[in-house]
Symmetry: none
Subunit: 211 residues, 4 copies
DNA sequence: TATGAATGAGTCTTCATTCAT
DNA sequence: AATGAATGAAGACTCATTCAT
């Protein structure tokens, strides 16, 4: 039923256009006509590649998610000591946002929220095509080995690695979001430094050793 | 132009109904007719209290935000040492979600996402009635004095308090979100303990003092 | 789900308009917008009374069928000798078409064909909401007692009444249709006379009695 | 403008496919794409043989009509006494339907209805490319000589032959239609016998000759 | 003040037709 | 000659909003 994509390039153009449109006005306000226009094709052509608006959204999700997350995966699997890895993940978050979502592409980030929203709602209400919680847990799995490694190596505290991972990823998510919104009001380099210092060494000043 | 609400109770019923409806199906899918029905009033009556769907959404936002944040404010202004305060803020986040958004009321949390989404979009695109970034920065201000106090007292590291506050609040936000989605898969008490330990003392194991 | 008709008069106006439109251009070419305009109401209002175009069609069917057939029922149940009754049924067919479907209302007859078509198709393909064959057989039942009565009274030949009824009704249907199409080329009174003579006394000239 | 068909065989395949498609889902629901697929050719190729869907429909009509009617023509022109001829026409109608339109090909009959519908509508509304009334009158002409012959020979009553022909053909049409729809509920042979008896000798029992 | 019947602007989607290859 | 990708006109249906009662 779903028409085989004939021209992969055109399919990509549609997705790209959809990302822009959905980002700017939201999925429910994003019109197929606008997407088509932005992709430089006729309205009907969109339906040669996607059978419904909903399916476009799914494709956008996939594309967006994959592009965004591949960086984390690369990092997670790189040969590097765990402390540096965790640190770089924070750095990457700040940098990714700055590089990929600044200027015109800024609003793209909003799609993430919309995807989350959709996913959560499905999750809660049982529709669950995307099973968002599962996706998130897959993401945690990416980070967990790093924490495990750190603990094994005696570099990290012997905390429950699963829960620690959860906290780090969740915090990372929130930081990414807030940074995105407020990035004009804060100094990225300062944030990077403090974030790492803070997350890795804690907020509390260690008592002077000699005491 | 906007008619003064005559019956405050009825206005509240509309907001309450709108929260349920928006939470369950999203703002753009939430129909005025459904809200009216759920509020037990006529469709036309809604417009005696709100001049548009958009205004209902704004009221929902206000109501929801105020209800949710008042707890943080209480905490922030309570007389308590900064370490405990920061810790309690994390605890409060976990507890609030568990107490207020479990069971039937669960999906209400989704409105928060939608509010975020809307707010961010407005922000990005300049429409900005709610100026979400401003609201967030107001929230940060709530936390900053605690950090300042901790630093002054020499309990916290002498990091830039504004940036630290940003990071804490942003992390808190992300943690709240993820906990909400995954709260069935994690042990709350464990999370509370680790979160505090982790945020306050850092992930890295201090070198043994004797060395 | 189907909204309760609020204004029976308006409902009737929609049906009437739909009859005209469907008759003139066919069901699939009949636009809701045209029906609404012809009924003097807004496009959306149509959906207050019918939940879909298909439902309008069903209502048209019902209305049309009932109006058309009530005349036959009256005749069938009137106290009258069977020969006259059969004769009057033919007369009625010619007259009904002339009176009710001449001039502007002519095309209404076409709806009947469309209804038939739809019914038959459903029948054949199993969808069968209207079960057209059943409806037809109900109609035959209306005629059968007349034939039975005529046979019992020894006025009609002792043929199988069920099959005779079938033939009469089917013939009547065909005659009505063809008359409708060709009524400008034939003399109604002559047709009436010959039809009755022909159907009742046969085409073959009886051998002269004295022979 | 209309390209000459290059491959008569392909043209026939299209018509055959169209008959199936139109029969099954109706003309307005029958898609060119489906027809092309069923004919085993590309969508665009259809337009090498027909310049529009409407033209396909016309070709279907022609094909269908010719195939169906050729039997009547053979009968009409065969050397046979008029009484037998009329009788055989009824027989032929029943047999044709049974032989040609049972099983899979059943729904094809529905096209006839659709053709009628279209023809009648065109007729009524003046568009009349097919001039259905004319076609029908041509058909009557086929039968009229038989009636004339019967009357001349003194076998048939001296009724107006033109009107009698009209009635016979119209009745035949109706009978064919109803038989098609109800052929599972009636005994064909019985129907054949009664139809002939009824049409030729009338329904009314002749007064006993001796009286 | 409360209502819900009426409205029409707005949108997804379909599909006959075109045309470059 | 054959194809199927591209197209956009067209139409059913939704729903926020209005307004007469």
């Amino acid at each position: 039923m779903i028409p085989l994509p004939k021209d992969e390039n055109k399919r990509r153009r549609i997705i790209k256009a959809a990302i822009q449109v959905f980002a700017e006005v939201g999925v429910s306000n994003g019109k197929i006509a606008t997407i088509a226009a932005k992709a430089g094709i006729g309205k009907g052509t969109v339906y040669e590649y996607f059978s419904s608006k909903e399916e476009i959204f799914a494709a956008v999700f996939e594309d967006f998610f994959i592009r965004m997350m591949s960086g984390y995966e690369d990092l997670a699997t790189a040969p590097m000591d765990p402390v540096r890895k965790i640190g770089m993940m924070f750095d990457y978050t700040y940098d990714y946002l700055d590089e990929h979502l600044s200027g015109d592409r800024g609003p793209e980030w909003l799609i993430f929220l919309e995807i989350f929203l959709r996913g959560y709602r499905d999750e809660m209400l049982g529709g669950g095509k995307l099973s968002f919680a599962n996706i998130l847990r897959d993401m945690y799995k990416l980070f967990k080995p790093i924490v495990d490694e750190g603990i094994s190596a005696g570099v990290f505290k012997p905390l429950d690695s699963e829960h620690v991972t959860f906290i780090i990823f969740a915090a990372l998510d929130g930081i990414g979001l807030h940074y995105f919104i407020n990035r004009d009001h804060y100094d990225k380099e300062k944030l990077k430094t403090i974030t790492k210092e803070f997350f890795l060494n804690g907020l509390i000043k260690p008592r002077t050793q000699g005491a």
